[in-house]
Point group: D2
């Protein structure tokens, strides 16, 4: 064991991180500072305070922060400006929360003079990578403790036994094997493991917690509008809202209409495939709306460059490189494109789908004058198309002449 | 007018191309060969024969070909291997049909000794570009006549007047302004213009012709399976099918469940934005299924490279560069990745959505042994993750040391 | 002829643009404003004033501007931050000058109330595209006159005859066919045409004007240093210099040592291949130096992203899209990477080569502690490499197991 | 120590791998099979046999293979088809040899029934990654022993002491600290460490072993031709040669003229920067020639796609992913482009430079007819350029209208 004096633990108040809290005290004989973040996961946080106190953490070392606005404003919205999707579909709900948690862990480490941080992510997943890359990028000298990679509590039974030996209360429902593992924040809830481990088996309905089954959603569609300013959502149905308030309201709409369920087999950064279930109700609506407003306000060159850069950008976030220079470079390019992404998108929500049905903008690049089948009063000279085609074709004709063996 | 002796016309039998047929005879004083393709657009083609005969085209110069299998096998399926979507959403239903029509036009020109081809695409759209780039790529010396860029029949009234002056029958429903313009083939139907020209207005339901309104779709979901071999669909619900048969059957399923409607403002190659409505019922189901089977059979490196290349590949097809070397290079890379994309995908179809709910494969790369939360019997050593993270973090730590001004 | 009242002409004072000046007056019966830019081409500009006056251009309509500092500071240096090379080798010396000329043409058009601009680029080359795309991007309503695409003076003889008919002095050395065509500015001189048209024939030595033949360069190498701040050169051999002064001094060094000659067959945007000879003496030294300083100050992630984006960035500049949003987005990404690109590069100049032999920086990321073969005092734990390799290999092993048919 | 029965060691016969041989015998108490490859490194290999015998390796377990033709044909040439350069300059001479060595190690492991391989690369470098990723990709169950990451012989003195204790002969010149470390094969020689560790200090001339100092090279240039077939070199000065013979001959020319020296600070895959010196005499000439023949035989679309893919392709090889699916996909795309890359390139070799001065091909796409400044007999209609520019400008004009606030 290296020489650790004080460690800041990402602490949820649940069984696993309570065991870790104790294990850190016992194993490293060090002070533990707990950090519990409200990222909109929908759980009460005060119980975490009581539990930490119970394990002897002094009040000044118990941090409980509401990070919801910062989360949406500085992480979720910038990411959605890029229309980021990992492997075609995943909206990166877990990935985007990790760097913020690490940022706060490092800040608290500085405030409290801690020399280490600790987290409860396992050695098989992406989250350990995301936590640690962010932490190292923000403080190159920080030490990181990842108990799941260190201890030998490698079965549920061993963990619970250890808890009981150390007077950690074990809730009844944790005694049996939990059927799957979940992570939640304002953007999404993810589940994986156990009943989800066979990718041929349909995800049971009870795994979903953030959305009604589309079959149980209202039989009539609901229409909404979202307003955007510089690429970020600012109002719902005409009512101005802060980032977190807007996402919360969209989550409610998504829940009601069964929007944002995703069943995915994805490639983890550590090299294996895993099967996950994601619910991103508000984010799914928001993503559709953002593409909708870009359709009329972004130039083709900007739009296509964004589409080309997106897979790499999404991969960087998925792999934990939020605080890497290349992510920041891509963000600079993306943000540059959003200065005129202003306007209103109208969407239809219905039984699992969020469809753009209208968009308007004072900054629209759509020109009815140019596109019309009617008389366009000289806006566009169809004869220009001939030269355009001829010169685009020239290299293909030279190729064809070469390949057919003559002019 | 340049010196044209014989021209092959892409002829639908409709009013516009009938006017063009006559206009070519009158204006160029040349022979016209008509070519009518069955691409699955769902219209009878024999009336085209009668109309061509009526305008004096000899039987040997009337070509009516069923290209449905070639279309799906050699164009649609290769494109879907790439998961191609233009601007995030458009499945390229019109774009992918054009190169095949041009290929056949050039073949017929060779068979009949024609020196030119003609088409009915306007000077504002993408189709003229797609037709002509493909034609030039296949025959660098072919001449191309695009009447819409040449004549002065620039209003509906003018066109109809000209038709009547030249004894071309004008169907009653063509006398008024048509409310929008459509294109159809086995993959999709697109509509644009007129009632669709205001991108804020919702597409009226009567514009859709290939799908029921999701609100009118069955209240119970339907489950299906699609089998893939080397990245191509080969069976529906266990029943082997040819490419066109499979797509036809999926279209029927998509129609029933209201799947594949898309309202899009897109960027045309010629430089303007246009608003289109697309219905791609079977293609939307197929696209989801293809991603599903790739999830368990494609390695991450291959999958991510495909995602990075896709926007460029889709843009090439959209812009008409199917027969360009760079599209062929990308196809070679994509096809290389598909050799083990075999297996079965299970989908749930319900009120507008096609969702993958299961996938299995003899070539699966998903390893439950590695991913399990349970004891993995040594398949994966969690301690490896530490070194993995440490070396991935090294450059970020060196950066942080530099940027904070010291080690 | 469309209705033009006043046109701003990019005027060199040479025979061709003098003919154009007159031709515009005669053909359009409009006022002509002349604009002559000093971009460091090394020609006296005052003769252009006298010639314009001779053709009746009033003094207030004669613009002669020294744009050298703006050229290097706002165009050349930003481009070199990207390490831009078109088709692997071309340093874009002509391409990068065109947008600045167009910018000034449009400014002068606004100042003088002109409704059009004119340039002397032919209809076969890239420069017409570059001039006009930039002009349209800066003023969507500007009219553009490109005489070489309009008139019928399509041979040298015809041009000279027309000049004589219109009392335009024809210098003796212009009477015969010139052996090739050149363009020059502070960054480079290019030549093409005539003796260069056979790509198998070596470029004759007399074509080069900015560099000595390496065989005639000094027999001893010369060592120099260039200092960089935020990615831009700021000093030569320790002496602070403005951008244009620095490039001028490097040109002198490059000339002396025969550096920066390039014989290239390139692909023009208009679709054909052309063979060009380029001399970029100072730019070649500067480009090597910029890469040198980036080697120690740029993080790998940033450096590799830059390398991946570069070909597209270079293509955009080559094709004339300097003022397009996607070029600006890429520039935002590139500039973001340069904030710590500070330090000094040492180069050896010798008979055609500029080689980086040393680099140092207060912002260096190079860590001798980490890389040393000697005892590194724990800076790097070699055991971390095992986990790093194991997890990078995991997907490859899963693939190999699948492909060999078993675990 | 895990349970190893037989290990195949990549054995050079030098001191380090001799120590490893013995260390494996002593530490793992296992049989050792030695594999010594002739990759053109220019050393006699038979002494390696005697040394292995001396340490008790039976003859049937001593493999000495001449892999030079396979190396150039199946690894070097395919890589040069891509014009691969890592970080702008490095021709990947070490990187490309590693996968071949691993391939042969795995083959020999199969032939001899070995369950492990071992190599002499350290835990700080790229080569360990390259060896092991390739090995795992070819045999997912192989065990890998990397003594430098395992043992505690972490100083030169410790190694030599251990050698002497175990009766391994230590050559006199190995007793002192060697001034730098080298790797060599037919493509290049690299050196790093010691005197090279300060990136501000010029590489001393004695570090170079494969090239004369350009200052000592002949004072007159030498002209050569290289013929290409399908993107691969097949003849020098008209004389047909096998791949390895051609590269050997080019190395001799490069040596004589001082061509291919490179002083680089590069980013290692393991996260640190290192400074290396590379000599790639023949490869540098060959790379220039390959670009030269592509200039006239590759279409622009193909050429630009290759340039865009190249940085990723080079990174994959540098990082050790030769046997990864994404490298193979890129190779498929690249190879597709080379089918008509045939012809002859003429180069001038002079004091450190290899410059293309001429290229010709039966498959040339260069069209003097199109590019000429003279009368082109209608090959190209300059008026087409207007439409081409107009439509390329349309989106920029719509942007400018929007951004200036009006039409």
């Amino acid at each position: 064991m290296s020489d650790i004096k004080k460690v800041v633990l990402a602490y949820s108040g649940g069984l696993d991180t309570s065991v870790i809290l104790k294990w850190l005290q016992v194993t490293y004989n060090c002070e533990v500072v707990t950090f519990t973040a409200d990222l909109g996961q929908g759980e009460e946080l005060e119980p975490a305070r009581a539990k930490a106190q119970l394990m002897g953490v002094p009040d000044k070392h118990i941090y409980i922060d509401d990070l919801r606005e910062e989360f949406v404003r500085d992480f979720v919205f910038p990411m959605f400006r890029a229309n980021a999707r990992y492997e075609g579909d995943y909206l990166l709900g877990t990935s985007i929360a990790r760097p913020l948690i690490s940022k706060r862990l490092i800040e608290i480490a500085r405030e409290t003079g801690a020399d280490a941080i600790a987290h409860g992510a396992t050695g098989k997943g992406n989250d350990q990578v995301r936590f640690e890359l962010s932490a190292y990028a923000l403080d190159p000298n920080i030490k990181v403790i990842a108990p799941w990679r260190e201890w030998d509590l490698n079965s549920r039974t061993a963990l619970i036994e250890w808890a009981e030996q150390h007077q950690i209360p074990v809730p009844k429902d944790k005694r049996g094997e939990s059927p799957f593992s979940t992570d939640a924040n304002l953007l999404h809830t993810s589940s994986e493991g156990k009943v989800l481990e066979d990718p041929w088996e349909e995800t049971p309905d009870y795994v979903y917690s953030r959305t009604v089954n589309p079959e149980d959603a209202p039989d009539s569609p609901e229409y909404i509008t979202i307003d955007f300013t510089k690429g970020d959502g600012v109002a719902l149905n005409g009512e101005a809202m802060s980032p977190a308030t807007l996402l919360t309201a969209l989550n409610e709409l998504g829940r009601k209409h069964g929007i944002g369920r995703l069943d995915l087999v994805e490639n983890r950064f550590v090299g294996m495939k895993s099967r996950g279930m994601y619910e991103t109700p508000g984010g799914t609506i928001y993503a559709a709306a953002h593409r909708g407003i870009e359709q009329i306000t972004l130039d083709r060159g900007a739009a296509h460059l964004k589409d080309e850069l997106m897979p790499k950008y999404a991969e960087l976030i998925y792999n934990g490189f939020w605080f890497a220079p290349e992510r920041e470079m891509l963000q600079a390019a993306i943000d540059h494109s959003q200065s005129r992404v202003n306007g209103t998108v109208r969407l239809k929500l219905y039984k699992g789908s969020a469809s753009v049905v209208g968009r308007k903008s004072p900054d629209s690049l759509y020109s009815e004058r140019h596109v019309t089948f009617e008389d366009d009063a000289g806006a566009y000279d169809q004869k220009d198309a001939q030269g355009f085609i001829k010169l685009n074709a020239l290299r293909l004709r030279l190729l064809a002449q070469r390949d057919s063996g003559g002019a």
